[in-house]
């Protein structure tokens, strides 16, 4: 019997959700760096 989510399920569950968080984190860090330079 299968004992874990399929690889494709893990991929589609985690990649889009975490990708949007990482992209938001990157743009926040870039904003902070720009603020620091001023």
């Amino acid at each position: 019997m299968a004992d874990n989510l399929t690889t494709a399920t893990w991929f589609w569950l985690l990649v889009p959700m975490l990708l949007v968080v990482v992209l938001a984190l990157i743009s926040w860090l870039r904003h902070r760096l720009r603020e620091g330079e001023r």
């Binding site: 989510l5 399929t6 569950l13 959700m17 938001a24 603020e35």
Partner: protein, 493 residues
């Protein structure tokens, strides 16, 4: 497994304390509300945390704690696609629209509602755009608010054995009290607190359930033994179905109660932090919701063993936690429902107070008068929604099925193109709203083949085409409009 449960002292106490806290927040906000702009947009002074969490909490209704876990509990991981689409849609909304709309609504004669923004952005002297969009908001959100109240009343009747009418009356009274007193600030601050509560519950419940079951391998193994198909997101779904479900994410661009949070944020400098908080909240809350439903399959030994799949989150809390902790976690369900109702109620009220009363009846009215008109309209719409909710079977509540798609298709393309396209005209905007709304209404009535597609996708595409075509036909939008667009674009660089 789950049945009516007599409301006990710990549950009653935590709910009463929670509801009293919401009213207290309303009283605090009351002291800071002096103008209609304060009342319906908080004077544009939301910090990043409040803007982010109140956007998330007002967007996510009881669906996050009941609908989504229930769907995963009932059918497995093939139910994740709406959540994936919503996460992407919410991110794009924050990334593409938030800053532009915040800036544009301020430059375009300080527009404090979406209908006012449409009118001012396109210099619509006929007020067609304002009236049409305000009527659409008023109509759909009154029924939407009503449906939220029905959901809350039914939940309390079915799960806790509380009389439906009593639950409805108490819930409506609390929501009306803090919304009426404190307006947008009260709604945003309570949404912020409710967002935190929902987030904690959606992390704690699935994590502790999985630990209780012996860890992740044991949980997934049990589900694999009971329902092997539940482990696969592609089980029993087609590509057509996946696209249709992910299309829910398109709805964000046109939801007035979410866009109001963008318009109310304190400064453009706060948007990157707000976006990070908002998207982080949403992604982990959605994952928590999905894993709650999934772990529920193992905990309750298979799908179909609960009377009502949508109570899986509630049933897990009742089974695992002491009554006092359970009371606090169950308040999150109340929070999810209330935080959506209050925001929709306030947006409906703003359509009456700002877009009709101030615009057409009393343009010269003072701040004090307008704030009290705002409060009166909250009371009137809230009372109407409550009366409609007295009959949970009322056919008018079916309108809610259209609301997400209707707003998404009618307003979404207009909002997006209005902040990105210099050449968009008033006629293009009117055409976009009409074509988007009509497509959703007609598509829903048709069935079979391509018409099984969620109506937001065709509505969104056709509305976009209508805007492009009708803006081209009528010539350029006018020098004043183009100059204003350039001013906004320049200030965003």
């Amino acid at each position: 497994m789950s049945g009516a449960l007599e409301i006990d002292l710990p549950l009653l106490t935590t709910f009463v304390v929670y509801l009293a806290l919401m009213v207290l927040v309303g009283l605090l906000a009351y002291r800071l509300t002096r103008s209609l702009a304060d009342y319906i947009l908080g004077g544009r002074r939301l910090g990043p945390g409040t803007a982010a969490l109140s956007a998330g909490a007002s967007d996510m209704s009881g669906w996050l704690l009941m609908g989504l876990p229930g769907a995963v509990y009932g059918a497995g991981m093939n139910q994740i696609w709406i959540a994936v689409g919503l996460a992407i849609g919410a991110y794009l909304n924050w990334q593409l629209i938030a800053a532009r709309l915040r800036r544009y609504t301020e430059v375009a004669k300080d527009s404090i509602t979406i209908p006012a923004y449409f009118e001012n952005r396109f210099r619509d002297g006929s007020s067609t755009l304002r009236v049409v969009s305000a009527v659409v908001i008023l109509l759909f959100f009154t029924f939407y608010t009503s449906a939220g109240l029905v959901a809350a009343g039914t939940l309390f009747e079915d799960t806790f054995g509380v009389d439906y009418t009593l639950a409805l009356a108490v819930g409506a009274a609390v929501i009306l009290t803090y919304t009426l007193l404190g307006g947008f600030l009260a709604v945003s601050w309570t949404d912020f607190l409710q967002g935190i509560l929902m987030f904690i519950a959606l992390i704690v419940v699935p994590v502790l359930t999985v630990l209780e079951l012996g860890g992740w391998p044991a949980t997934a193994g049990t589900v694999g033994d009971l329902e092997p198909g539940a482990l696969d997101a592609f089980n029993d779904v087609t590509l057509f179905g996946i696209v249709s479900l992910m299309a829910w994410g398109l709805g964000y661009f046109g939801q007035p109660h979410v866009l109001a949070r963008f318009m109310a944020i304190r400064s453009l400098q706060d948007i990157p932090a707000a976006r990070l908080i908002g998207i982080g909240w949403m992604a982990f809350a959605l994952l928590g919701s999905i894993f709650t439903g999934f772990a529920g399959i193992a905990f309750f030994e298979g799908t179909g063993t609960l009377d009502n799949a949508e109570t899986v989150f509630i049933a897990l809390i009742q089974a695992m936690f002491s009554p006092w902790v359970a009371g606090c976690l169950l308040a999150a369900v109340l929070a999810a429902i209330m935080s959506t109702i209050d925001s929709q109620l306030l947006v409906s009220s703003s359509a009456l107070s700002e877009d009709f009363y101030k615009r057409f009846l009393r343009p010269a009215a003072g701040d004090r008068e307008l704030v009290w008109v705002g409060r009166a309209t909250v009371l009137a719409i809230g009372a109407l929604a409550t009366v409609l909710a007295l009959d949970p079977e009322s056919a008018v509540l079916d309108l809610v099925a259209y609301a997400w798609a209707g707003f998404g298709a009618a307003f979404g393309p207009v909002v997006i193109l209005s902040v990105f396209w210099r050449g968009m005209t008033r006629n293009g905007a009117v055409a976009g709203i009409v074509v988007g709304a009509v497509t959703v209404l007609v598509w829903e009535q048709l069935g079979g083949g391509i018409f099984e597609m969620y109506e937001i996708l065709p509505g969104f595409i056709l509305a976009t085409l209508a805007i492009l075509v009708f803006s081209r036909i009528g010539g350029r939008p006018g020098e004043e409009i183009e100059q204003e667009f350039d001013k906004v674009a320049g200030s965003l660089r």
